[in-house]
């Protein structure tokens, strides 16, 4: 057979290599900043651009899509070409993919601190950027499938299946979850409301973890661990089971993020059951990774790359055991809304994704610059700093999480809350927040040492030009009677892609269809009314400032919660909430009954509290929001917002958008008059007025009219 000569594109790998390094350090730095903001609000710097509510989404987006995203593409472009024995389908598409992805990251870095957000966790970017993400993602997908189609290796290695599943599933998740009605270039409302929005969001959110942070990295594990260990993968059979079981089961588990909320019990139970089942494929994959090192364990003592990889895969095992445990209702009742979740995700993000990425970077650097690693010693120092950093990060956060849950639920013998003031519970946690920041500092320091080591390595060598290869062309695929089914599938990538899509679509469809068509899932509450124009504008300010990052709006049916906050939240209360704002973490108290019962406060309290929270709640760790008192809003988009909401099914009367501003002014004047009685002079168009109106509306839906 005549051999064909071709070249691997190493340049694109180097480009993603440096992007991974730069964005990794950036994500860690923003993470450290927000870690410091909790014990010391001074680190919010008194400016709207750098408050916790806006920087937290920047941190999560930077970690997931910038650091891990570039890590995926770096590993993909290196491994896929070699596993397929073909250069990338199109160099132009590779470049479009690279620069497009960096452009999206930069636009996220500009818009999120500016308060432009859709409020959906890990999908905060507004609709123009969402469209760009979809286009660039498809560019990668076309480039991948094109490369697969022109490959010179008949069968697809397991890493390639994971890449295909990643491409097809993230595309589906991103598009379905991002559907929204635009109001302006930087503002949109989610197509779904309340409970349905929550279900779609956590179907996305959970599977963003599954198909962005897990499946592509499993593909990378199946390539780079055998490479680093110089051993074949432990069990190819196990990898097939691992793959199909993982992608089929993962997609169902989203509702475990919504246990004890207003979502129907059947959806919550589905989430729990599938989460428990997920232990099997996850641990199958972990064991397959670790057992690949059989016969090479002695090398783990000397080789920092193997050290990084072993701890990474162990962290994957920990996370994927802990996740199902947290999906049990009794366990979730303690961990949810607390820092326990933060510890859990950082075992995954820092341990699994972080350390595997570092291992890949150290493995790739000498090969991409045709040299040897500048300093093995420094890589070892990095390994210990990163590992200790994770330990100093997660132990205080586990501790904090359990402490929070216990003191939230603590009653006196008379049946009263021991800590009725939420702030008392926060103040107990401040020392742990400092310890966490120390852990983050260690992790960041380690990564800076890595940057030095990698730069010195690159400088000591020269970039390897495109690597020359030769391989026999692929013979046309003809069906052979008796050919094994999976071999048949491995040779037909488009069928493979379609089957993977079917596997991941089933779970979503089985959950969504009943949720959207069965009326009894969301019982109607006749007293729940749409937001007034001023409340709607106030809600948008709440979204813009990222208040939902620290305050939930979901009172669970526990006595400890109804005692503290009031009546538990009902599904029917959220039918006009585009998007839902339940939140996932309580750094501050729940706000769902902020406008009713014992939690209701005078307008002047909110005014002074937003100006400086510590003036009303001494010791509070909330940032200051003085700009809300200064900034005026011209409400130019109000009529468009009303129209958009009506399109989404909110029952504003036809033509209401023409008189909405009058209603807004009337309500605002009432609040201004209230404030005046307390000696506060302000005008109707200040942002604070709208925010107060929204906060006073919260929870009133169940009051008799």
């Amino acid at each position: 057979m005549e051999m064909e000569k071709f070249q691997y594109d190493n340049k694109i790998v180097r480009m993603f290599f440096w992007a991974t390094v730069v964005w990794g350090v950036t994500a860690f730095l923003v993470g450290l900043t927000i870690a410091l903001q909790l014990p010391a609000p001074v680190f919010n710097f008194g400016t709207s651009w750098l408050t916790f509510g806006r920087l937290r989404p920047l941190h999560t987006n930077a970690a997931i899509f910038a650091f891990v995203g570039n890590g995926i593409f770096m590993g993909y472009y290196y491994s896929a070409q070699r596993l397929l024995k073909a250069r990338n389908f199109s160099d132009v598409l590779s470049k479009v993919h690279f620069w497009g992805w960096q452009g999206i990251i930069v636009s996220a870095a500009l818009t999120l601190p500016a308060g432009l957000t859709s409020a959906k966790e890990y999908a905060e970017l507004e609709w123009p950027i969402d469209i760009a993400i979809a286009l660039i993602w498809v560019a990668w997908g076309v480039n991948m499938m094109g490369t697969i189609l022109k490959r010179r290796e008949k069968h697809l290695y397991v890493a390639i299946w994971f890449y295909i599943a990643t491409f097809v599933t993230v595309a589906m998740l991103h598009i379905v979850n991002s559907l929204a009605i635009p109001v302006s270039f930087w503002k949109s409302y989610s197509l779904y409301a309340g409970v349905q929005d929550a279900l779609v969001q956590w179907w996305y959110g959970h599977n963003a973890v599954a198909f962005f942070l897990t499946t592509p990295y499993l593909g990378l594990m199946y390539y780079f661990m055998p490479k680093a260990a110089q051993r074949p993968v432990y069990s190819y059979r196990l990898s097939i089971i691992h793959f199909w079981a993982l992608i089929f089961l993962y997609i169902w588990a989203g509702p475990h993020h919504l246990l004890y909320t207003s979502t129907p019990d059947w959806a919550q139970t589905l989430g729990t059951v599938f989460s428990i089942m997920l232990i099997a494929p996850s641990w199958g994959g972990m064991l397959n990774g670790l057992l690949t090192l059989r016969g090479a364990w002695d090398r783990v003592r000397q080789d920092p790359i193997l050290k990084f990889m072993v701890v990474a895969v162990s962290a994957y095992g920990m996370s994927t055991f802990e996740g199902p445990m947290m999906s049990l209702k009794n366990y979730n009742a303690i961990t949810h809304f607390t820092d326990y979740t933060i510890a859990h995700v950082h075992i995954g993000a820092l341990g699994w994704n972080g350390l595997l990425t570092f291992g890949m970077l150290y493995w790739l650097a000498p090969r991409l610059w045709n040299t040897k690693l500048y300093s093995v010693k420094l890589a070892n120092v990095h390994f210990w700093l990163a590992t200790l950093g994770i330990i100093f990060y997660v132990i205080p956060m586990y501790w904090t999480g359990i402490t929070q849950a216990l003191i939230w639920k603590q009653f006196t013998p008379e049946g009263l809350l021991v800590y009725p003031n939420f702030l008392e519970t926060v103040l107990q946690l401040v020392p742990m927040y400092w310890t966490r920041a120390f852990g983050g500092t260690l992790f960041l320091t380690g990564s800076l040492i890595m940057v030095y080591n990698l730069v010195k390595t690159a400088r000591s060598g020269a970039p390897i030009p495109d690597q020359e290869m030769e391989a026999a062309p692929l013979k046309p695929i003809v069906s052979v009677a008796g050919e094994h089914k999976h071999r048949w599938l491995e040779a037909r990538p488009m069928y493979f892609l379609a089957l993977a899509l079917v596997a991941v679509a089933i779970g979503g469809i089985v959950e969504f269809v009943p949720m959207f068509v069965v009326k009894s899932n969301i019982p109607t509450i006749s007293t729940v009314t749409p937001y007034s124009p001023l409340e709607l504008e106030g809600r948008d300010i709440y979204i813009k400032e990222g208040c939902f990052n620290c305050h939930s709006q979901m009172i669970r049916p526990f006595r400890s919660e109804t005692e503290r906050y009031g009546e538990y939240s009902k599904a029917g209360e959220f039918v006009y909430d585009h998007p839902f704002l339940w939140g996932s973490k309580r750094t501050g108290p729940d706000l769902h009954r902020e406008g009713v019962g014992k939690l209701k406060k005078p307008d002047a309290w909110h005014y002074n509290h937003m100006d400086n929270p510590r003036s009303m709640s001494p010791g509070s760790i909330m940032p200051v929001y003085p700009w809300l008192l200064e900034r005026s809003n011209d409400y130019a988009d109000l009529h468009k917002k009303i129209r958009a909401m009506r399109t989404l099914g909110v029952p504003y009367a036809d033509g209401y958008e023409d008189i909405a501003l009058d209603d807004l002014k009337k309500q605002a004047d009432g609040i201004v008059a209230n404030l005046k009685e307390s000696g506060i002079e302000t005008s109707w168009d200040k942002e604070i007025i709208a925010l107060i109106a929204y906060l006073q509306k919260l929870g009133t839906g169940i009051l008799p009219k």
């Binding site: 290695y157 074949p232 094994h484």
Partner: protein, 62 residues
């Protein structure tokens, strides 16, 4: 429990059976596939990452 969930949802009852059947088929199918797979093919596939022609440089580590 399932029958209660789907009460009032005309035409959706088939979802109950469908999800069970799909589940069963996916897992039985996967098990049949791996049990009947040939040894030679498995060996070839599991060694694939090691045969991509880039292992001359050991990075100075081993």
């Amino acid at each position: 429990m399932l029958s209660r969930i789907y009460q009032g949802a005309e035409g959706l009852q088939f979802f109950q059976g469908l999800s069970l059947v799909l589940f069963f088929l996916v897992f039985v199918g996967a098990i049949v596939m791996i049990v009947t797979m040939q040894r030679g093919h498995i060996d070839k596939m599991s060694k694939m990452p090691l045969e991509s022609g880039d292992d001359k440089n050991n990075g100075g580590l081993k």
